[in-house]
């Protein structure tokens, strides 16, 4: 029996796993997908919010500000790409500027530092591509951008280094309470644990409701995004939010930590918890909405679009804690925006709640740091050649758009929780994430994966399950030939 089983290997589950791995306990994470970071954690704004958005007194407000403050240390310890690029909430001449003052006050009350309101002149020097109708903005220097994949993977890898087990490709089918814990049935094996932590994103209500009569209800709220080529990556340098108004909540325009430009999200409730499809209307609305804050957006430079599902709970706040009528069953539910920003603090909070209950002993040999995949582009010419001499794979470029070498892909495959699909390699190395969207590198990456794991080419998939790329050899599927 495990001491603790965590359901869901998104950023929340992985952050919790990493915090709990400080203690002497048997911990596992159960994830239905073939990799960590496959749900909401992979499809969001990739923002570390400053924390002025949520109402004072809510968990969202508290954990966002705390999580944000943790990012400087965390990004160094766990080697997570993170930049405090600062954010702006812009107000146009048609909007009520007093709303900015309200946000400023709210932010101060939440404990956000260095907030201030900037006028048109200051803004246009900072961001020359702001729309001409922008008159003022709330500036939050503590706002940041992060790689959500690396953040989740970093938590997960560090948790593994500290003894946490991951059951991937394992879907929870039911949870029943036992005398001293819970029986978690899955499509693979049964798992028992004294404590269960529910970090299942849009499915958190389903699992909670299996053990508790105090029902939760989570709505999947779809957000669609468009990602622009790196050639558009400097169109703005801060994260540009819109002041909510007549036009609705608005969309953001932000550089990403890897140098692309991201536009989104839409907000559309859906009853399909698997509905991560983009829509014609959704995508079309993005450029129109974004044009209210940023001018001349080069939307012809779009390289991909995607959609994510926010896990919106009816009460609107995060639900973090032990279920009232299910002792030992803890929820981290309703984790929608600012969930990514809050994840580090959710991890700490959940670990404390569990610790209060279980009285675990802290490890003496906890490993607090983790190294990410080596990026040769950060090396000098001499260092790089030294590396290639030792490991020639670093001299072999596989992804021409992002200039990712075979060495980086090998690292992604062979490290803890190693990549077993093309999407998993992509999230770890960026191979296939550039402007040609894997057209060039996918056959090459498939070959490497087949050789290294090793696995059959016909088993190599985009993202596990039945997402294989090829069906067999030529001239083998010809039974139905005319």
């Amino acid at each position: 029996m495990y001491d603790i089983a965590i359901i869901g290997a998104g950023v929340t589950g992985c952050a919790i796993a990493r915090e709990l791995s400080r203690y002497q306990a048997g911990i596992c994470v159960i994830e239905r997908e073939e990799d960590v970071c496959c749900g909401t954690s992979k499809a969001n704004s990739a923002i570390i919010h400053a924390g002025f958005d949520a109402k004072p007194g809510t968990l969202k407000a508290k954990l966002n500000v705390e999580g944000n403050a943790m990012m400087d240390t965390l990004s160094k310890d766990l080697d997570i790409p993170f930049v405090r690029n600062g954010s702006l909430v812009v107000c146009t001449d048609e909007q009520d500027a007093s709303e900015l003052e309200r946000l400023l006050e709210q932010g101060k009350e939440n404990g956000v530092k260095d907030l201030r309101i900037l006028d048109r002149e200051a803004l246009h020097t900072m961001e020359p591509n702001l729309d001409d109708h922008v008159t003022s903005a709330l500036y939050a220097p503590t706002g940041g951008i992060v790689c959500p994949f690396h953040m989740t993977i970093a938590f997960a890898e560090n948790a593994v280094a500290n003894g946490v087990e991951f059951f991937l490709n394992t879907a929870v089918t039911s949870i029943t309470s036992l005398e001293d814990g819970y029986l978690i049935s899955t499509d693979k094996q049964d798992i028992t644990a004294k404590t269960v932590i529910n970090a299942a994103g849009v499915y958190a209500d389903v699992f909670h409701n299996m053990v508790s009569s105090k029902k939760l209800h989570i709505t999947a709220r779809k957000g669609e995004y468009q990602l622009l080529d790196k050639s558009a990556g400097t169109h703005v340098s801060h994260t540009i939010f819109q002041l909510p108004g007549k036009m609705g909540k608005g969309v953001l325009v932000t550089p990403t930590v890897h140098g692309n430009l991201l536009v989104g999200p839409t907000a559309e409730d859906t009853d399909n918890k698997e509905g991560i499809n983009t829509t014609r209307e959704g995508l079309a609305s993005l450029s129109e909405k974004a044009s209210h804050s940023v001018k001349n957006l080069p939307m012809r430079q779009v390289i991909t679009s995607f959609a994510g599902l926010r896990a919106h709970e009816d009460n609107g706040d995060f639900i973090i804690g032990e279920a009232a009528d299910a002792p030992g069953f803890f929820d981290a539910a309703g984790i929608e925006s600012p969930g990514l920003s809050s994840a580090p603090a959710i991890g700490v909070m959940m670990a404390r709640l569990v610790q209060d209950k279980m009285h675990l002993t802290e490890k003496e040999n906890f490993i607090a740091t983790r190294k990410g995949i080596l990026r040769p582009e950060a090396l000098s010419l001499e260092e790089r050649n030294e590396l290639i001499k030792k490991q020639p794979a670093y001299g072999n470029i596989i992804c021409r758009c992002e200039m990712i070498s075979e060495g980086e892909i090998l690292d992604a495959i062979h490290r803890p929780l190693g990549a077993r699909s093309l999407d998993a390699i992509k999230r770890r190395t960026r191979a296939g994430m550039g402007r040609c969207q894997a057209g060039f590198c996918s056959p090459r990456t498939m070959e490497i994966l087949a050789r290294e794991v090793p696995m059959e080419m016909t088993d190599i998939s985009k993202c596990g399950g039945s997402s294989q790329f090829v069906y067999g050899y030529n001239k083998e599927i010809q039974e139905e030939m005319p």
């Binding site: 959704g282 991909t304 001299g395 790329f469 010809q478």
Partner: protein, 437 residues
């Protein structure tokens, strides 16, 4: 740092022909840098026939066509490096490249020929809504998997876009046992060659739906189906025309984009219409001594024209190197002045594309320095019937050539002679346009 007289970036049809030509024009110190494991470029995966009618007066397959040039490169003793990625080209013609054996290395070149080819437009760039499952391939990626690696990427196929690679793949997948259900084309005309419609679609009763596009992709893990709809003249889907096709594969053949990341970082001026460098009649870019040819310059319809163009680039690069005189070359400082070839110290005449002509290659002609004959190639923006190509020197129409049918999928050309230009000493601009016959 190593140095070479001429570095050619890319060992596909353009790079090979350029190398042969440069060698035959007196340059011995040539290096071809190729990122793949063999020379020949995209031709290696184009196993169908139809290449070389112009060049060799016989119909060859892609690999056969490539081998003719590879044999020449080998017999001429031209050096090349395979599995080598060019990482950067500087304005001063320093080439940074990398491979497993040599690591990252720099080469100083006297002249450079850009021959990097092009890439395919991806699903993301097309803004097709829906899920993002496996089973969506650009036609060229599927072609590589089937023809080079020997794997079948699907059983039931829908193809979006009627570019030549898409048409060729419709036949190829059919012959390998897949069922190609339909080819949908957004435009009211095909983007591919007519012969390919006949022998790749009609021969196998594969329907081609013009003015249709994919408006939805289904399937969370692998494609399970796509929805196709007719589009109106505004390019938007017409409600009520939706048709669902169950399939496991969607191939995209929706256009090619010259691959000019290296050119851009070197500071080469690009033409927004072609996405390729702006060049003069010698195929020299805005950087003196940097030439371009093949699909990196503009997307060609036939490899024969690529070879011809590359031969010209190779010869001109050779002359540039042998003249040893870069004094009269075009604005070496273009990176800073944002200038294009027009500001060349040698007088040049600009060619203005208009009236249906989308662009011209070259864009500038130097009457004093040009060859006796220069072929100006271009594409038209729509289908023209019973029209012709008119060339104006200033306001005067100096030529008109009737063309019964012109289509965007096929390149057109006009030949200008040195004699014509030197007879008009005050010529300021040349206009090429489509006019009714």
């Amino acid at each position: 740092m190593k140095s070479y007289d001429l570095v050619i970036v890319g060992g596909g049809p353009a790079g090979l022909a350029a190398a042969v030509s440069a060698k035959e024009n007196g340059i011995n110190d040539i290096l071809i840098l190729e990122r793949d494991k063999e020379l020949g470029g995209i031709l290696n995966q184009c196993i169908h026939n139809g290449f070389g009618l112009h060049t060799f007066k016989e119909e060859l397959t892609g690999p056969e066509y490539a081998s003719r040039f590879i044999e020449k490169v080998l017999s001429l003793g031209i050096s090349y490096k395979l599995n080598t990625m060019v990482m950067d080209i500087s304005h001063e013609k320093k080439v940074t490249a990398m491979n497993r054996k040599d690591g990252m290395f720099e080469i100083q070149a006297k002249a450079i020929i850009l021959a990097m080819g092009c890439r395919e437009r991806s699903r993301g760039a097309l803004n097709i809504p829906g899920y993002r499952p496996a089973g969506i391939y650009s036609a060229g990626t599927a072609q590589r998997l089937v023809n080079m690696e020997g794997y079948m990427p699907g059983r039931e196929v829908v193809i979006l876009g009627s570019g030549d690679i898409g048409l060729i793949m419709a036949r190829r997948m059919t012959l390998e046992g897949a069922k190609v259900k339909v080819v949908a084309e957004l435009m009211p005309y095909s983007g591919g060659l007519k012969r390919n419609i006949v022998q790749c679609l009609n021969d196998f009763d594969i329907p081609l739906k013009l003015s249709h596009t994919v408006i939805d992709i289904e399937g969370k893990e692998r494609v399970t189906g796509v929805t196709i709809a007719e589009v109106g003249t505004d390019g938007k889907p017409i409600p009520g025309t939706e048709e669902y096709y169950s399939c496991d594969t969607l191939l995209l053949s929706c256009g090619l984009i010259p691959e000019n990341e290296l050119s851009r970082s070197a500071g080469v001026t690009l033409n927004p219409v072609t996405s390729g460098p702006v060049v003069n009649d010698s195929l020299e870019t805005s950087i003196s001594g940097v030439f371009a040819c093949g699909n990196v310059l503009h997307v060609h319809d036939l490899v024969d024209y690529v070879s011809e163009e590359a031969g010209i680039a190779g010869a001109n690069a050779a002359h540039y190197i042998l003249s040893g005189n870069t004094a009269d070359a075009c604005n070496t400082n273009s990176q800073h002045s944002d200038a294009s070839v027009s500001e060349c110290s040698q007088p040049s005449v600009e060619i203005i594309p208009t009236g249906g002509v989308r662009y011209t290659v070259p864009k500038y002609i130097r009457p004093e320095a040009m060859a006796d004959k220069v072929t100006v190639r271009f594409r038209v923006g729509q289908i023209y019937k019973n029209c012709g190509i008119a060339t104006y020197f200033g306001d005067e129409r100096i030529s008109f050539r009737k063309r019964p049918v012109m289509a965007p999928g096929e390149m057109e050309s006009v030949v200008l002679t040195r004699e014509q230009l030197t007879n008009c000493p005050d010529l300021e601009q040349i206009t090429i346009c489509i006019e009714e016959a």
